[in-house]
């Protein structure tokens, strides 16, 4: 043998590094574009060295109409719906995790089935239904639908996390005479803090990025969240203000990227979410 195993391992690592770097650059190009264009006074559609660095693009979008109202709407919609989702999911997960019943399995299977239904497909009937019951173009209607659409996955995750709380601790709480609600709020939820955080962040991130639901259910421009308004402001203006579009994209995306980093750190790497999704 000409090459020792050590040399072979090193060369194999170098090959893997090179392959990964090529892929990383390909994936990074659009991301580099958005960062450079946001700082570029004369941004266009390709990645290039900026003609000087400026914050003018950020200044230009720093208005009620373009940034603050849509982001506030997003916060209201996604915050409200996330709160509703997490409360309902925690309440529902508790009996599913604590008691054994013949109905648990069918219920969980139905929930799991619902997690993988394409929500896009029900939006036309939801629109027709909302017109009929006067929930169209209302924040509360959109919040309720958002919550319902995230709920199956949230229940599933929450139940799995709750199963991880040692049963002795739950039993200790019952023997001390705590009611179900007390034991849920005082013992179980604090012990599964990271789990609740994951469910909360996941629901919020999914809704923050969702375009189709508010696009269908809201009509008044003042009520639009950032996911829809970005399209109105930049998509319909013939895409001229690329620098501003890039700046807004960064402002709008930063919260979800930060939230993701937060839970990924907490769970020791981004792989936990993949594992959780797997079941």
């Amino acid at each position: 043998m000409a090459r020792t195993p050590a040399v072979r391992r090193t060369s194999r690592r170098l090959a893997a590094d090179a392959g990964l770097l090529v892929l990383a650059v390909a994936f990074a190009l659009p991301l580099i574009w958005v960062v450079l264009s946001a700082l570029d006074p004369h941004a266009d559609l390709r990645v290039k060295v900026p003609d000087g660095i400026t914050l003018d693009n950020f200044d230009a979008i720093w208005t009620d109409e373009i940034t603050f109202t849509p982001l506030l709407n997003s916060l209201l919609l996604c915050g409200g719906a996330t709160l509703l989702t997490v409360v309902c999911a925690a309440l529902a997960a508790y009996p599913l995790s604590r008691f054994r019943s013949r109905l648990n399995r069918p219920f969980l299977l139905t929930v799991l089935f619902a997690t993988s239904l394409p929500v896009t497909a029900v939006m036309v009937p939801v629109y027709a239904l909302f017109v009929r019951v006067n929930l169209i173009d209302t924040m509360q209607g959109t919040i309720l639908f958002f919550a319902a659409s995230q709920l199956p996955f949230a229940i599933w995750l929450m139940k799995n996390f709750m199963d991880g709380v040692p049963v002795e601790l739950k039993e200790a709480a019952w023997t001390d005479g705590a009611s179900s609600l007390q034991s849920l709020v005082r013992i179980v939820l604090p012990l599964m803090g990271p789990g609740v955080a994951v469910v909360t962040v996941f629901a919020f991130v999914m809704m923050w990025g969702n375009f189709f639901v508010p696009f269908m259910l809201l009509l008044t421009p003042d009520r639009m969240p950032a996911s829809v308004s970005i399209n109105e402001f930049f998509g319909n203006r013939g895409m001229v203000a690329y620098g501003q579009l890039a700046a807004f994209s960064i402002v709008y995306s930063t919260p979800v990227v930060l939230l993701y980093v937060l839970i990924a750190r907490r769970l020791g790497g981004g792989f936990a979410l993949g594992g959780a999704v797997k079941g």
């Binding site: 893997a16 590094d17 990964l20 770097l21 892929l23 990383a24 190009l29 659009p30 991301l31 574009w33 958005v34 559609l45 390709r46 990645v47 309902c88 309440l91 529902a92 508790y94 009996p95 008691f99 019943s101 399995r105 069918p106 299977l109 089935f113 619902a114 993988s116 239904l117 896009t120 497909a121 029900v122 036309v124 009937p125 939801v126 629109y127 027709a128 239904l129 309720l144 709920l151 199956p152 179900s180 609600l181 923050w208 990025g209 375009f211 696009f215 996911s227 970005i230 399209n231 930049f234 709008y252 995306s253 979800v256 990227v257 990924a264 792989f271 993949g274 999704v277 797997k278 079941g279």
Partner: protein, 318 residues
């Protein structure tokens, strides 16, 4: 949810946990036991109410109006038209075009793109040095976490005639294209690969971590090369993850709307119009709610089919 009912039976018959041992019955299992079960089920009510009203309700309504000629134009009544909407769909060239494009979009971006690239990334990452691994993981996951519409704008800029892709092709002295015009469906498929690969990467990284080191080392000692190890050892060992991943990718890809809407609006002249975009156009540009809902119902049925298969894959874990 009507379509869900057959699932529990089949799953319960074929496997999973042994049935719960019957509780020691009180002499009269009447009111007390019933009251106890009801109290226990009480916390479920908000979730169940929400799911029934806002998820099961629309699905039931969907089944109903798919068989009517409901329109957006505010006509007072709609009438039952039977299978007319479906008959019409299968004679509608635009619909068949959308079915074909959805198929292309799903196969190219989910089955081939995200799946293979995700596996490649995951297996390269096991061998690469830590800084490279962290950097690549970070970039790929950022693409995944970004809001759908932002991803759409970034890739619109990337594929435009004056965009980054053509600049790179110029640099390499390769012919340039107006991608969003000549090959719109490929452009949006690649966009979906860019956005969705991280999920497959995460699933496969977790799966590869579970393969015992001795197995791969034994194969290496026996002189199996990289590709043969991949084909004969790695792939069979992670086949459950592959199935799960394919299923979830496909379901996600079937419901992509915002990404395509931002990049091409389904155009030019319907050449990137997948089923969700076709459905939207029928409902709101042509005001045919009944017809659009029939299309939605078909999409929902395909989705449920995948969903049921997915449940079977997971059946041991409930």
């Amino acid at each position: 949810m009507t379509a869900a009912t057959p699932v529990p039976h089949t799953a319960a018959e074929t496997g999973g946990k042994p049935p719960v041992p019957p509780a020691p019955h009180p002499v009269r299992p009447g009111t007390a036991a019933l009251r106890r079960s009801l109290t226990r089920a009480l916390p479920l009510t908000p979730a169940v109410a929400l799911l029934l009203l806002f998820l099961a309700g629309p699905i039931a309504y969907c089944v109903f109006i798919a068989f009517t000629d409901l329109q957006l134009t505010g006509q007072a009544t709609s009438s039952f038209v039977g299978l007319e909407n479906f008959r019409r769909a299968f004679a509608d060239e635009a619909f068949l075009n959308a079915v074909w494009l959805t198929l292309v979009f799903t196969v190219v971006s989910s089955l081939i793109g995200q799946n293979t690239l995700g596996l490649a990334l995951a297996s390269l990452m096991r061998r690469a040095s830590k800084p490279v691994r962290t950097l690549t993981g970070g970039v790929v996951i950022t693409a995944w976490v970004l809001p759908e519409v932002v991803a759409g704008f970034l890739l619109y800029a990337f594929f435009r005639r004056e965009g980054t892709l053509n600049a790179v092709l110029d640099l390499l002295h390769l012919p340039r294209q107006n991608w969003l015009f000549t090959l719109p469906i490929l452009a949006v498929s690649f966009a979906n690969v860019w956005r969705g690969t991280a999920f497959s990467m995460l699933v496969y990284s977790a799966a590869l971590d579970e393969i015992p080191r001795e197995v791969t080392e034994a194969a290496e000692v026996d002189g199996a090369g990289g590709w043969r190890r991949m084909w004969h050892i790695t792939l069979p060992m992670i086949r459950r993850s592959i199935a799960t991943n394919l299923m979830l990718n496909t379901l996600q890809t079937l419901s992509v709307f915002g990404l395509i809407w931002v990049m091409t609006r389904g155009g030019p002249s319907g050449r990137s119009q997948t089923l969700p975009l076709f459905m939207y156009e029928q409902a709101f540009q042509n005001s045919m709610i009944g017809y659009a809902t029939a299309v939605a119902l078909l999409l929902l049925l395909i989705g449920s089919l995948f969903s049921v298969v997915y449940l079977r894959l997971l059946r041991t874990e409930v």
